[in-house]
């Protein structure tokens, strides 16, 4: 087991770690932005329902449209949610972001787009309006309205914006809501146009074009980038004001540019066809060429933001004295979804499916530990102790699992395997290049029995109302402590009615063995 976690050397002494654990509700009647949100939701909701009512004249196409966009939207929402590795945002806030994008922004944009296109037509040459109207008006109107959604959410609950990653999450959710409702509108229009009625074929065709070919480069991307810029501006206060403004502006320019390029008439040659309509493959090529550069940019930004989150996580858990709670390799393995999965997979190979499951629980408990610690601001707190106890309990269950044989020739990364599967004294640390030793050999404790007690496996519970404990089986001596009810203990030995028990943290004492409750 690695030593206690040390504070990261690069931690800025001026910047305090974020308060991840402080989660606030969306319902903030004292915040003017909350009322602005409600008013706009009312206006947008009316327009949204009116449009849906019109579309319901094609019930089959409408049902198919919503089913298809949900097939796309649910996984995207989950990915966005899970990419926020450490401090997941409150679900009500995420729902508000979706509502802003899908109800408020789409409804208002539908009104504004037509007006601004008309203004373009009145003030610019018609060919400019015809060719570039969607590329100028669309991004200008829609990105502004969507970004206002991210800013409004910030004004309602600023504490939920702890880092750049939060801007990504809220921006992506606003964009996802927008693209879902807009896609449904396009699907229905296609159904009315091509099918001449309530047909599903055109819905599927449009789904292939808009979602399969271009879904990765849609409003989710645009608003995620602008949202990250805004979050950078409001959260990275250790950077200078001008630098924050520059970062914000750069991200807004990038997000809007991505939208402009997507709507522009550029690269139409990819859709050129001698007869009939462009194929789905042509649409995919078109989407790749137009959207991939910005998608790569988004990935880079997300990776950078994730590293920043990991640094914050490290600074929060720094100084934890108990190596059973979290170790350096475990912090590293929590740094990405991939490394987390790798750790679970490795634990599964080492200790079976239950090992993988418990490793997942351990990872979640360790993140919760950081959340709690960021909230209470100290390492000494009952809630912290409870979380430590939970982590130790999961770890002890994990360590109590029997080892299973690893596949022949498999090579498991120690940096991942050891923290989640080892007792700390049982497995010798090897270099990352070495292969895993024989599981049986690894399971044998190498330390002397006097120094290393057997693995702690809870056998009993303290009964309701608690019970006293003595430092020796002598009733004439005063009890040294009163154990709380339901505390898990392991009975190491018995002497008459006395039982020598051990708690998870190694504490030992004598109790009335007759009153202990068998865990069964």
């Amino acid at each position: 087991m690695s030593a206690a976690v040390a504070a990261p050397a690069s931690t800025d002494p001026v910047a305090p770690p974020p308060r991840w654990g402080v989660q606030a509700s969306l319902i903030q009647p004292r915040q003017p932005a909350f009322w602005l949100f409600l008013v706009l939701l009312g206006i947008g909701g009316y327009l949204f329902l009116d449009e849906q009512s019109t579309m319901s004249q094609l019930p089959t196409a409408l049902t198919m449209s919503w089913a298809l966009v949900l097939i796309y939207a649910v996984p995207v929402a989950l990915i966005v949610y899970r990419l926020d590795l450490f401090e997941r945002e409150p679900k009500l806030m995420l729902a508000a972001a979706l509502l802003w994008g899908g109800v408020i922004a789409t409804s208002l944009a539908a009104q504004a787009n037509g007006a601004w296109l008309s203004i373009m037509g009145k003030t610019l040459p018609l060919d400019v309006t015809a060719n570039w109207g969607p590329a100028i008006v669309g991004p200008g109107v829609e990105e502004t309205l969507k970004l206002m959604g991210v800013i409004t959410l910030f004004l309602i609950v600023p504490d939920e914006f702890d880092g750049v990653m939060d801007g990504f999450v809220y921006g992506a959710m606003v964009g996802l809501g927008f693209t879902v409702v807009e896609d449904v509108s396009y699907f229905i229009t296609a159904s009315a146009a091509f099918g001449g009625g309530d047909a599903t074929g055109p819905v599927v065709d449009t789904f292939l074009i808009r979602v399969v070919a271009g879904g990765m480069y849609s409003h989710v991307l645009f608003t995620a980038v602008t949202g990250m810029g805004f979050a950078y501006f409001v959260t990275q206060r250790k950077a200078g004001f001008s630098r924050r403004v520059l970062g914000f502006a750069a991200c807004v320019v990038a997000g809007v540019s991505a939208h402009v390029v997507w709507n522009s008439p550029w690269m139409q040659s990819f859709l050129a066809t001698t007869s009939g309509r462009p194929s789905t493959l042509q649409w995919i090529e078109y989407g790749l060429v137009k959207g991939m550069p910005f998608f790569v940019l988004l990935v880079v930004l997300v990776v950078l933001a994730t590293r920043s989150e990991e640094k914050n996580f490290r600074s929060i858990v720094a100084g934890e004295p108990d190596p059973q709670v979290i170790t350096e390799p475990e912090i590293t393995s929590l740094g990405s979804l991939l490394s987390r999965r790798s750790a679970r997979t490795a634990a599964g190979r080492l200790r079976g499916p239950m090992g993988s499951r418990l490793t997942g629980q351990l990872q979640a408990a360790q993140i919760d530990y950081a959340i709690i610690r960021s909230r209470v601001g100290t390492s000494i707190d009952p809630a912290m102790d409870a979380q430590r106890l939970k982590i130790r309990g999961i770890r002890s269950q994990l360590e109590a699992l029997p080892l299973v044989a690893a596949p022949m020739g498999s090579s498991l990364p120690y940096a991942v395997t050891v923290p989640y599967g080892a007792t700390g004294t049982a497995v010798a640390v090897a270099s990352a290049a070495e292969t895993l030793p024989e599981p049986v050999a690894a399971a044998v404790p190498v330390a002397a029995p006097q120094e290393v007690p057997p693995a702690w496996v809870p056998t009993h519970l303290v009964p309701p109302s608690g019970m006293a404990a003595w430092d020796a089986p002598d009733p004439s001596r005063p009890p040294m402590v009163n154990l709380p009810e339901r505390l898990e203990l392991m009975v190491e030995s018995r002497a008459g009615a006395w039982a020598l028990v051990r708690a998870i943290n190694g504490w030992r004492g004598w109790v009335d063995g007759r009153r202990l409750v068998d865990r069964g």
């Binding site: 915040q31 003017p32 932005a33 602005l36 009104q111 504004a112 007006a115 601004w116 008309s118 037509g121 009145k122 003030t123 018609l126 015809a130 206002m148 004004l155 146009a193 091509f194 001449g196 139409q268 066809t273 007869s275 309509r277 462009p278 004295p321 108990d322 000494i380 912290m384 102790d385 409870a386 106890l389 009964p463 309701p464 109302s465 608690g466 006293a468 003595w470 020796a472 089986p473 002598d474 009733p475 005063p478 009890p479 040294m480 402590v481 009163n482 154990l483 709380p484 009810e485 339901r486 898990e488 002497a495 008459g496 009615a497 708690a503 943290n505 504490w507 030992r508 009153r515 409750v517």
Partner: protein
Amino acid sequence: MSSLPPDASDTSQSDAEDGSTDSTEFPRWAAPAVPPPWTGMGEAAKVPTFGVSDIRAEVEPAAAPAQPEPAATPAQPTAVEIPPGQAPYGQAPNGQAPWAAMAGPAEDRQPSLDRRRLMPTVAVACIVAAVVLGGLGLDKVLAAPSAGKVAVGNHVTIVAAPGWVRADEGGANGSAGVTLQQANAQLSVQALSYGGSASAALSDLESSVSSEADQVSFGDEQDGTISGRKVAMAGFEAVVSGSSSSGTVDGELICMIASGNAVVFEVVAAQGDLGTVVDDVKAMVSSVEVGQ
């Protein structure tokens, strides 16, 4: 801690109902005071230091062990050292009643708005209003350019609605007909000598459109009169594609019989935008004049 209850004297009572406690479920006792067994490992000074060997040395294996009599034990459990900042059992921090922590500071209960964020919120509202209402308002006040009165051919003229301008270089090619354009809609008008009915002219026009589009579907024909002249009309949706672009359009075909001429209107708009130009097209159809 001296108020802690002594252990139950009835040692025969069964506590087996708790035996099913899930090992990962942690009871609420963990939240209040925390005695040494589950206190943070860093607080080593608070953890009892005796070990197994120490205890075994004090126990005589051969002797009958003294039965623990928790209830009869005269001494109350000794006070447990409480870590700084923690409250004793049953007490909230600072000696407050348990529910005291539920109520926030007095200012939290005030219903007044947070004035610090009023101006930023107003700014957001203004931006949203500028984008939406500003666009709608500006569109209304801006005078739209217009082609004015346009000669279609065969002595037929129409008056272009505001916002509609020539899109065919002023008819320089000499063909009978004119094309007008608005932001995202296009209107083609032709005047041809025709001896048939408006309905027959519409059928001919539909055949022509069908041959030009990749896919097209027409709505039902509607007959009527505009400015005293017979009119036949039908809506359509079509897929059009070219060497550089492709797309779906909405459209309307209108055929009017006027003084031995068939005046044919074909309006095409981007998908979903046809509704915004319907009034303009009606006005232009009504403006048809046939000169001598």
